[in-house]
């Protein structure tokens, strides 16, 4: 056990024999890991945003100005019982005016119109889209909403769902190639560093072999070195990403987006650290074998 810890420590200490080589390697791995993790964070946030909207489509229903409050209340009460409706938000003319005023961020004063709002009563009906026959279903839903008493207009934007679905498909498609690229670059960089270390220390390693050091005794510190480089560089990259995240966390948290950017979950962080350390070990193994 004593030898194990000594070799573990030696693996890390040996890296500092060539500090410049170590710095360059760490910089390269950090940069690649930072870019890869940033992409992962983008995918994660996209998935979070799309997860709340994906599969749902919103229909905006406008009523004519002649509809009375009592009539509206009755119709709005019945909206949520329609099959496929998951959420209904209703707006009286005054409420619609208030939302409009908020979207102007008080730069335009609409207070004077209160009580005589020109906006029609509206409802935002959010429906769960079926997996098949979406276009027919949407047309049928429009017809159904249009048939409600005193409805003037129904609008929805199926293109929005198509775009969001395409984004999800794209990020899922790009995920593995990007991760694969990142891990390959890390493997090449670490492998190259270990090869250089082997070249620099060739004579020393030869002496170790000749005095009876086992293969494990010689190779273990080099594998530790590879793992350490991957782990340390990915740690630095994640710290940098956290700093960047701190700066941009609320960048999109403004009307009308209201999107908070979240950092990577702990599971992803653990996965990145262990994957990079693992790649460091594997590339060291390959370098030693060659």
């Amino acid at each position: 056990m004593n030898v194990f810890f000594r070799l573990l420590f030696q693996g890390v200490r040996d890296l500092f024999r060539s500090p410049w080589s170590l710095c360059m390697t760490l910089a390269a791995i950090t940069l690649v890991t930072f870019l890869g993790s940033a992409f992962l964070m983008l995918v994660h946030n996209l998935n979070l945003q799309l997860g709340t909207r994906h599969g749902n489509v919103q229909f905006q229903v406008y009523w004519g100005g002649n509809a009375t409050q009592a009539e509206m209340q009755e119709v709005w009460g019945a909206l949520s019982s329609i099959q496929g409706v998951v959420n209904v938000r209703t707006f009286t003319p005054d409420q619609a005016l208030e939302v409009l005023s908020e979207s102007f961020q008080k730069s335009v004063d609409l207070e004077w119109m209160k009580g005589r709002s020109p906006l029609p009563p509206t409802a935002l009906v959010e429906c769960e889209m079926p997996e098949d026959g979406q276009k027919k279903w949407a047309a049928a839903m429009v017809d159904r909403l249009q048939a409600l008493p005193k409805v003037q207009k129904v609008s929805f934007n199926p293109l929005q769902v198509d775009v969001l679905s395409s984004w999800v498909g794209f990020t899922r498609m790009a995920f593995w190639p990007v991760m694969g690229f990142m891990l390959t670059v890390v493997a090449l960089v670490v492998g190259n560093t270990i090869k250089l270390a082997l070249l620099v220390r060739r004579e020393e390693l030869e002496i170790l072999r000749f005095v009876g050091a086992s293969r494990a005794y010689i190779q273990f510190p080099l594998l530790v070195g590879g793992a350490f480089q991957g782990f340390l560089a990915s740690g630095v990259a994640l710290v940098l990403l956290k700093l960047v995240h701190h700066a941009i966390e609320n960048l999109l948290n403004v009307p009308p987006l209201w999107i908070s950017i979240f950092f990577l979950p702990n599971l992803y962080i653990l996965a990145i650290l262990s994957a990079l350390a693992g790649v460091g070990v594997i590339s060291s193994c390959v370098a030693l074998r060659n």
Binding site: N2, E203, I207, R209, F210, V211, A213, R215, Y217
Partner: protein
Amino acid sequence: MITISKLSYSFGRQLALKDISFSMKQGEFVFLCGPSGAGKTTLMRILHGALPVQRGKVDVAGYDLNTLTESRKHLLRRDVSVVFQDFKILPNQTVFANVGLPLVVRGIARHIIDKRVRAVLRSLHLDQKAGVPCEELSGGEQQRVAVARAVVVKPKLLLADEPTGNLDRELSLRMMDIFQQFHRFGTSIMIATHNQEIMERMAEARIVTLEDGVMHEGKKNGDQQ
């Protein structure tokens, strides 16, 4: 201790060893002599597992070198120590660290390493230099460090390739005394040399000669330093 049967070795088309058969008993002291380029170093390197057995059969200290895999060669090297012609010591490490290295890689406790290294350094008159980096030593002192490192593990077999090549006459003779001392404690020793004087001083030693890759028992006439 060593059994060689019809061993041949070539570097490309150049045949370095030709159909050698040789055996050495436990506790024997053998001088391997012959001119430069005769194949002495090649034979030493094969016996130590640094070169593969191309043809023939070689058995050293109970290890069949024909079947010994790379991952198990360290076991052979724990029983067979080598003193190299070019010392092969770590120049930036101290004398103590160099001599203790074979014990460290065997995972021996620090206090035992300390005791054994100091004893060996004393016997080779290097105890005053224990803390000195090897790069600051003279050629003769570095040679003694290499010998100390080889004997500190009490090997079954000690192979020495021209161990007196860098030493003056007096130091060469003192070095041979040291080898004799370890031989008396039961270590089998094979020394590759073409130093006539040290061979003559050890009348009880067996002499084999390598010339153009061919081995002869005994010394050839006119084999001079």
